[in-house]
């Protein structure tokens, strides 16, 4: 990401990291999480769950910023993010 200027407190800001949890069996394969993940972390997998839907899979798990959008948009309570406290990385400009 490119800023027009470097924020003065850049040293203090940390990009949050998320830990993604997918409850495959609840998924109905709507694709909301895949479509709206701002970081493009997810895609629908080829795998089937027992109801015959394709649950999502993280293709870029390390890029999850714990924004919770997938969790909020999921109509089936099948995906959620937790803040990955230990794996926060520092911003580099």
């Amino acid at each position: 990401m490119k800023y027009w200027r470097t924020p003065l407190d850049i040293d203090k800001i940390k990009i949050p990291r998320g830990e993604l949890h997918i409850i495959k069996e609840r998924c109905k394969g709507c694709g909301f999480c895949v479509e709206y993940c701002p970081k493009g972390v997810l895609k629908l997998s080829d795998e089937f769950n027992s109801k015959g839907y394709h649950p999502p899979v993280a293709i870029k798990p390390d890029e999850c910023v714990n924004c919770d959008l997938c969790e909020m948009l999921c109509p089936d309570f099948a995906i959620y993010c937790l803040r990955a406290e230990d794996v926060e990385k520092e911003v580099t400009s």
Partner: protein, 295 residues
Amino acid sequence: MITEVAQQKQEHPMEKLLRMDRIPHIWCPTCGIGTTVTALAVALEQLELDLDNVAVVSGIGCTGRVAGYMKLDSFHTTHGRAIPFAFGLHVARPDMKVIVFSGDGDLISIGGNHFIHTARRNVDITVICVNNFIYAMTGGQVAPTTPLTAKSSTSPYGNYEHPFNLPLLAASSGAVYVARWTALHIRRLTTAFKEAISKRGFSFVEVIAPCSTLYARLNKLGDGLDLMKFYHDNSIIKHGADPKDIDIEYQSKITVGKFVDIEKPTFLDCLNNRNKEVFGDKYKIYGGGNGHNRD
């Protein structure tokens, strides 16, 4: 990092607000109702309310099933009558937050009279209406919200009746808080729920949500995800817009935002004020029921 959660140890953050023994729910893939439920759950959590003091009342229909999935005191009532039931509950327990969560057919068609009168009285409840433009539970019949020309199983050649504009109906009936969002505007929707629940008086939030199995299929609009994309491309956020100007036409732009946020004495305020004026000190301010003697 990704964890695949085995079924026996599911710990979704919303679980304390959901009846997990009833999940998976009955809603179709790409239905928007579940998303709306999450928004309500997040709103309740962020408001830090005592959840013992929140009740949810639903009528009949797809959205009518919400009461059954929320881990709150919850009432699944008859078709169209969620609002009067909630009104009675509110009067008996004004200290509780009573939320009506139901669909457009339930609240506006069969329950339309209750909707306008409860708004008129400015009863301190929150009404959330999931509008999917169709009767979904019964198989996709035309609703009083179905846009002109949209097809349904009982308007097979396209609807020719003018639909209701729900924010206009609510506002002109006396609601003190009126907002409309789509299921895609999940964070703004959550904020709207928080504002509506905190508001004293009749607050109303319309949520445009995708019905994939019926509305989208009968109108060849793809699935729920396609409708979400449509909302993304066609929603216009216009806070304070005059509700008169925000009719929804078939696949037209959808004006969303907060349209009404005013102060007005509630039903119980008015009841107490009037009686106090008439009876003076003989009148004891009404503050709730007498039922719970077991404290």
